[in-house]
């Protein structure tokens, strides 16, 4: 399903449809996340991918128009880069620990063990994801908040003011 959606995204020329499909793609991956026990992630992906991103896309499209120029069918160089990257990645998975085994290194590492065994009495939170997110790796989350804030600053810098002259900076290009 995911693959099909992704491939349609590549082929579709109507950006409006692309935006919707991307939303669908996000929702699908959210279900996938749920299957993989990552309920928090699924929740976020649904909210962000299907919600925020889609709204953003649509907002953008309403400003820039939703027709895409016809593309040449296949571009060789990017395709080559992509194939090579993909093959390297696949090569990299050859020695990756098997999917779903409980004795994979990441499950045995002391930090994981610590999270699962100590967090309930150290932080008093049953949801380990929350306690890791906000406490053990709270600094990362602060960084994340800062990233969001940075995005706001960026968007404000870019989008506020100067819109009256219609063409934006076109005239001072020379």
């Amino acid at each position: 399903m995911l693959a099909v959606t992704a491939l349609i995204v590549v082929r579709t020329q109507n950006l409006f449809a692309v935006a919707m499909l991307t939303g669908i793609y996000s929702l699908l991956s959210a279900t996938f996340f749920t299957l993989l026990d990552a309920v928090d992630v699924a929740f976020t992906e649904a909210a962000v991918g299907a919600g925020v991103s889609t709204v953003l896309m649509l907002g953008t499209l309403s400003l820039v128009g939703h027709r895409q120029k016809k593309q040449r069918t296949v571009q060789i160089v990017p395709l080559l880069i992509v194939t090579v990257t993909g093959l390297i990645l696949m090569y990299g998975t050859l020695d990756i620990p098997p999917f779903g085994e409980a004795d994979n290194p990441i499950h045995l590492h002391e930090t994981t063990v610590h999270y699962l065994e100590e967090s309930s009495h150290e932080t008093g939170m049953p949801n380990v994801v929350t306690s890791v997110l906000a406490s053990y790796r709270g600094y990362d989350t602060m960084g994340e908040t800062t990233v969001i804030f940075t995005a706001m600053v960026g968007v404000l810098l870019l989008m506020s003011g100067r819109k009256k002259d219609g063409t934006g900076g076109a005239d001072d290009g020379e």
Binding site: G92, T111, E118, S135, G138, V153, G154
Partner: protein, 494 residues
Amino acid sequence: MMAHLPVMQVMVPLLAAPLCALVRNGRVAWGIAVASSWAAFWIAWEIFQVVHSTGAISYSLGGWSASEGGIEYRIDTLGTFVLMVVTLVGAVVTPYALESVGKEVDKSKQALFYAAFLLCLAGLLGIVVTGDMFNVFVFLEISSLSAYALIALGKDRRALRASYQYLIMGSVGATFIVIGIGMLYVMTGSLNMANLAILLPELSSNRTIPVAFAFLTVGVCLKLALFPLHMWLPNAYTFAPSAVTAFIASTATKVAIYVLLRLFYTVFGSDYSFLEMQLGTYLLPLSLIAIFSMSLVAIFQANVKRMLAYSSLAQIGYIILGISLFSSTGMTASILHLFNHAVIKGCLFMALGCVMYRLNSVELDDMMGLGKKMPLTMGAFLVGGFGLIGVPFTAGFISKWYLIQGALEKGLWPVAVLVLLTSLMAVVYIWKVVETVYFSEDPGSVNSDCSEAPIGLLIPTWTLAILCVYFGIDATLTTFGASSAVANLMGIGS
């Protein structure tokens, strides 16, 4: 309070940023920015002293040690050296920004500009101090996102496109880094650099690790614009506001190089990186091509800012060349050049900012005879230019000296010759400017009524110019910092 210096290093600019956004007044925001960037510089200096007297600092955030799954700060000699570079440039550029940004950025956006600027500073500092792989990514994104926004503020509409290109390339780089981190994590279960360093050697025959290594290296190289992944840089530097170019050119790529060193030496270990992965064999030719081709391209640029952007690419090549030599002299050269180039390029771009301030252009043709009208500005440019060439008694000479030593030590005398040759190419492009500025008569068109740049721009510019000469005459501090960093990284002494 002293114990919390590492965290304050990042927090000061990071907290100052929302304050800037809150005050909404450009001047007040500027005041906050200056105060916090100077404070950051002071903190970096304190840390420098602490690290050099008592060894590397470790700081557990949230009180959770790394083994408890927390995030660790770790500042060693290399880290404090880079902190010094970044905060120094920050502390010099912020005062400069008042006049320069005042002219180049809309008044209504200035407070936000400083917010973004401080975020970028905080992000870069955060990358340097952290000892956690994923945290590197988070702060990398803070600095990158703010950098995209800052670059897009350039007056020319091409700034937008440059910023977009940078965003796409930067995000690809970041995603590659995430993939690499993910693979390391999957293999070891750890995100802490020191912990990874212990766990990884046991997995040396594993096929996933080289792939992770490759993805991390490529991702970081995208960020530091190593040839051939440099396409985003010239436009970004050319069209960004002057203060932004001066800041980003002297810090962002340097921090990326720092990350690279961290990966090669701390995480993977030098034996793995250089002996097993044969990193030197890839990096050496790439850096040579970068140095040579980018110097060549720089010669043919008519826009001085773009010329210097290409020159930056060549200089990044020098730094990578030093790394690829895999010797303590080569590394010392790289780390020295990291600092020296930051000072030199900062000086050059700020001098150009002065020109931009008066002329609204940095095209070579518009700068004829400018040496008489803006003697101080062009004097600083000249000093910086000499530094770039590597004239004795400028900082650039010291780093090239070490670099050539490093090449000769390895018996790579053709490399030494090439480094010297490319210095000559630097002479050519700097001299083009010098000739236009000093030895051409003003045709009396664009710059006929221009005068010297305001003092607020000149003082920061000359600060760096003087530093560029100072560290060329008395390089004991920089060589001490660099060589102790190298000794630490390569496990010699200390």
